[in-house]
Assembly symmetry: C2
Homo-oligomer: 305 residues x 2
């Protein structure tokens, strides 16, 4: 499989999917979410089905009239109940993807994390992956974690690497290159994540993560700009060629997210990783396009090989 | 004074300076440093004088022959001795700016931090400021600290704000807008810098920093993109309009530095703040242009009003 090179190709992969995909949307009714669903439906993604849980607005009701077989509506007034039903649909394998509409993130995540009927398998950790296409870089880039884990521990870093590798392979990258981000190339016990990075690299060398190369610590530019790496005299298959960036804390990953978006003109999509199924958890203010891309990312990531 | 809008205007301000400026260059002899000095000299900055301490290479000796009155050479073989002499020249007020050539950063900083004859006044902290011009943003942006302080404490944050405000005012911004960076708008004791931010804002309200507006916590996009701030419903003179960004840790500030540079196509200059005089401390691999801009920034920042 050729790696997916941009968001148009991601949408094509999504649209041409031969497996049935059901997405449970909790509290839809905002224009961006409904618009994203409409885009998927009108592009003839024959296998796509949306189960909307909440109070549908007029636009969603019209969309339902247009595509009666492809949209199911559960009329539920409270956001709490809608969250519980949405999560239960996934728990009972009636839905393959969970998506947040206008519900508050905390309300939905409370149900996701419910120990009895939630969506977090034993031993898993919830994390977040963002897919970036930036004009300055020649390929798509996945990074974690700009949303969930503020200070990842070694087990959490391991989980983030595993989840991101899985997504990256679904995007067609057979041997993903993983850069472990820091402000320099030096490991230093004062910055414990740099010591954790050594463990991750050792594990990768022992085959714990499958086909991949993992290197670091290194900074963002060394990871993405081969010239910068050459000037520093760093020789690795990862430098200047990263598919995945793993950040040491949420301040740094959020700074990357916001800077590559505003200053770098990048297009982004995001999803929650580590749960039983991919979860689309956009900001309420995200655009229709952004929600569509995130939905496509989650669906492609959720396809069974 | 109109704010300096780009690096050409910064160079013009530097070139048209009426005060005598002496710069002590420790271990010159690399093409980029010599080239930057040549650029300054050939642009007729009549007040500029370079005191070169180290082993001059052929190019520097030729430049010395061309500008015998504007360049002094102290022939010193060892980097340690060159550092000590360079720092002493500043200590004795024979030089107004200190600049690193090919000497190792640690070697030079050891002399700068020397308690008896170093350059750090009692109660000061050494920090770093980077000046950025990015195509996506309508004005120059100063940020700290991408080089010296990994985890700034409240007194260090106060110092960073003071130093950056001083530079920003030298660049012609009469009431600089300061954004205190975090991954969200919420203060949270789990992230102690967000509590420190409240103190900084309170101090600013009481006039401790002079003419300025300070706001936060906020993310980089909220600080620089008015639309993003409006969507979030945040109303402040700082949002979308920041002149200064203060980062909570070195991983985040380095990520901003590298991302705005590589992905954002930004031009940058940097200097060490907090010492008796501005110190230019470029990476050895920095380009001639980058060293020239950093030299100009330090000189403009070092001009007495």
């Amino acid at each position: 499989m050729t790696p997916i090179a941009n968001f148009d190709e991601l949408l094509q992969r999504f649209h041409s999917c031969s497996q049935k995909i059901s997405i449970a949307v909790v509290c839809p009714g905002d224009d961006a979410t409904t618009g994203a669903m409409e885009q998927v439906l009108c592009h003839g993604t024959a296998t796509f089905h949306a189960i909307c849980v909440g109070s549908p607005d007029k636009t969603l009701q019209e969309l339902h009239t247009q595509y009666p077989d492809r949209i199911t509506i559960h009329h539920v007034a409270s956001a709490e109940e809608a969250s519980a039903i949405g999560v239960r649909l996934v728990h009972e394998s009636q839905a393959d993807i969970l998506m947040k509409g206008t519900v508050n993130t905390d309300t939905l995540l409370r149900e996701v994390l419910n120990k009895e009927c939630g969506l977090l398998p034993e031993g898993h950790v919830l994390s977040h992956a963002t897919l970036v296409l930036a004009p300055a870089y020649g390929k798509m880039l996945l990074f974690s974690d700009a949303a969930v884990i503020p200070r990842p521990t070694l087990p959490q870093l391991q989980a983030m690497v595993r989840y991101d590798l899985e997504i990256c392979r679904k995007l067609g990258v057979s041997r993903p290159q993983v850069a472990l981000i820091h402000f320099s190339e030096k490991t230093n016990p004062k910055f414990p994540h740099t010591i954790d990075y050594l463990t991750l690299i050792q594990m990768a060398g022992e085959g714990a993560f499958g086909e991949t190369d993992i290197a670091g610590p290194m900074d963002v530019k060394t990871a993405c700009d081969r010239h910068s790496a050459e000037v520093k005299g760093i020789d690795s298959t990862v430098t200047g060629n990263a598919d995945i960036l793993i950040f040491p804390n949420l301040e740094a990953s959020n700074t990357f997210y916001k800077t590559v978006s505003f200053f770098g003109g990048a297009t982004m999509a995001g999803m929650i990783t580590g749960a039983k199924v991919p979860i689309v958890l956009p900001s309420r203010a995200d655009s229709m396009q952004s929600k569509l891309y995130s939905m496509a990312l989650a669906c492609v990531a959720g396809i069974q090989n």
